[in-house]
Symmetry: C2
Subunit: 341 residues, 2 copies
DNA sequence: CCCCGGCTGGTAATCGTTTGCCAGCATGTT
DNA sequence: AACATGCTGGCAAACGATTACCAGCCGGGG
């Protein structure tokens, strides 16, 4: 692999000149520029990002850690992040923590060792992931996305679960449903906790209580399939699911059991993942892919302000830090056709 | 951030000793070892992978490029790869080419610049992706996975599309279906091309021809929804879909149109993605997540045998290079319950 | 004519590791 | 006693870029 030295030699100039031409860091005579570019071209020179990172102390890379890439919510998020970073000339270093706190901690360390300029993490566990996340605060820019841990003072970007599930509950109540049950994930992660709280708060607002204790498993189709069998069908007229995957599983199981949706029971999801579109009857869900944002809290994630921009390119570092994404209103009568309000 | 020098100073030894202790590259006296470890611990030393990579000329990182991470087939693949690499102490640098050859080329260059030890790519376009892939051959270990380009002599790991779709067609024909149509993606990518060829070959073997020309769009639910409307229902009794996403879309559209599956028409998928489980009636599909492998061709991807191991850790470099994954037989009567043969 | 400032391009230090080579020392062999 | 051997630990040179600093040159102003 050709180095800057080879290029310099072939062009008959010094390495500094080559560097200056290639990185446009200082003006160089047109003649030298020409020679350098020709030599680089001829040698098929590719610059070495590792050497550059060592010298400049920035890698041009952002690390991202998600709990499970096969949960369809995350690929959508990753795609958006990657596209945005690409515009800033940053690469994304994506890792999967495999829903395992130990793996998560290891991956996080690997990212730091690789000198990423910032970390975007959706921590797996509300409490068990906290030490690893907290340890990074002050070391480098770090933000949490979608999920977050208890106690770590970092920026956070996520959907407003409270507003989203309030919408869901209001929607069901407005259509006469009074006996609801919540099917979601174990409360070890932030989303599960926040969504349960949101549902309970919304019920309370309507003077209701859940028809049955929450059924808690995992944010997966399989759990939806299993949970449906535990729903007390004579006591319930609405099943609020923690996300779309669960809802799709529930729908499938209900249909198999001959339960009519939404006549006997209504089912709602959350996220509006692509596969939500194949549900039959159509799934009532709340879209998370909106573009409007709301600032709702603040904090500071970094003591390295010079690099903070890299992690949160769209706003000044350490200002209006935490953001809460307002869910799109995209509710339809469960089982009816989909409408956009 | 503490460096090896800080540790050396605090421990009262030289940097070489610290390096030797930390990387276990040579025996060191127990006493020195103890001092070094204590000092490292005290300073919270984290080693700098960038410096290490520069010096050793290997980054301990494998780059992976997939056409679209939100296609559920790829996350499953990525998870498997990441788990395997972790066992070798390698990190995965995952990128999405966004089904865009230009983005793909750019990302590929970024990976090379970051000195990845090897590249795993599922190229987007059968022909247009070829130059970028070919340019890397001989530069560093590179393998193609799932999809591949025309002409590049690299290792390749993928499902045996011919065998898989032969199974599908045989299955349908054995159940009396004679008038089949193929719904798949545009032929710009390898999978689409290979699967169309496979279906046609299988039909020919049975002395049949397709009931209708293939409907080609994208490997997505939306295309399945749209394509279903173009199926000539009176001329067709079986719809062979290029993957599960399409099949799920087709099923959804047929149900909406009141077509009975499988009575009026049978539908098959391919991949057995998690969401295939929610199809109603159950989707007939072929599982790609098997663990058995078959070697079927060979080639050599690298002129750097010392690092080739990194890219294909499970077998000696440049031997029995291309592998073809044998699809699991997991066929059931379309609409009937799922069986495993 | 001298000096000053701007513009170019080169020299060399630096980023944080790894590692070849060598020196010192203890031990074992003849 | 002389010498070979093995084990430790340190010195310093890389790896491939960036960049502070300097030197030379040229032109303009005093």
């Amino acid at each position: 692999m050709a180095t800057i030295h080879d290029v310099a030699e072939l062009a008959g100039v010094s390495t500094s000149t080559v560097s200056r031409v290639l990185s446009r860091s200082r003006a160089v005579q047109p003649e030298s520029t020409r020679k350098v570019l020709a030599a680089a071209e001829q040698l098929g020179y590719r610059y070495n990002a590792v050497a550059r990172a060592l010298r400049t102390q920035k890698s041009g890379t952002i690390g991202m850690l998600v709990p499970q890439i096969s949960n369809p919510f995350f690929p959508a998020l990753v795609e958006a992040v990657e596209r945005r970073l690409a515009r800033e000339g940053l690469e994304l270093f994506l890792c999967d923590s495999q829903r395992d706190v130990a793996v998560e901690a290891r991956r996080l360390r690997a990212l730091v060792e690789r000198q990423v300029d910032g970390v975007i993490i959706s921590p797996y566990d509300l409490t068990a992931s906290a030490p690893a996340v907290t340890a990074l605060v002050g070391q480098l820019p770090i933000i949490q996305v979608d999920r977050r841990v208890d106690g770590a003072l970092t920026d956070w970007v996520g959907v407003d679960d409270a507003a989203g599930f309030a919408q869901v509950v209001d929607h069901l109540v407005a259509r006469g449903r009074r006996r609801l049950v919540f099917v979601s994930s174990e409360l070890t992660n932030y989303s599960a906790r926040a969504r349960l709280d949101a549902v309970n708060a919304a019920l309370r607002r309507h003077g209701l209580t859940a028809a049955q204790g929450p059924l808690l498993g995992a944010f997966e189709v399989e759990w939806g399939l299993a949970a449906a069998e535990r729903v007390e069908l004579d006591a319930v007229d609405g099943i609020v699911c923690g996300n779309d995957a669960i809802a799709l599983g529930v729908l499938r199981a209900l249909r198999k059991a001959g339960v009519r949706v939404p006549d006997d029971v209504a089912v709602t999801g959350f996220d509006d993942i692509p596969f939500a579109g194949i549900a039959d009857p159509p799934l009532t869900t709340v879209r998370q892919h909106g573009t409007r944002w709301r600032t709702s809290a603040s904090g500071c994630s970094s003591n390295r302000p010079d690099t903070a921009r890299a992690a949160s390119p769209s706003h000044p570092p350490c200002r209006s830090a935490s953001r809460r994404r307002r869910p799109d209103r995209r509710l339809s009568d469960t089982g009816g056709q989909r409408i956009e309000e």
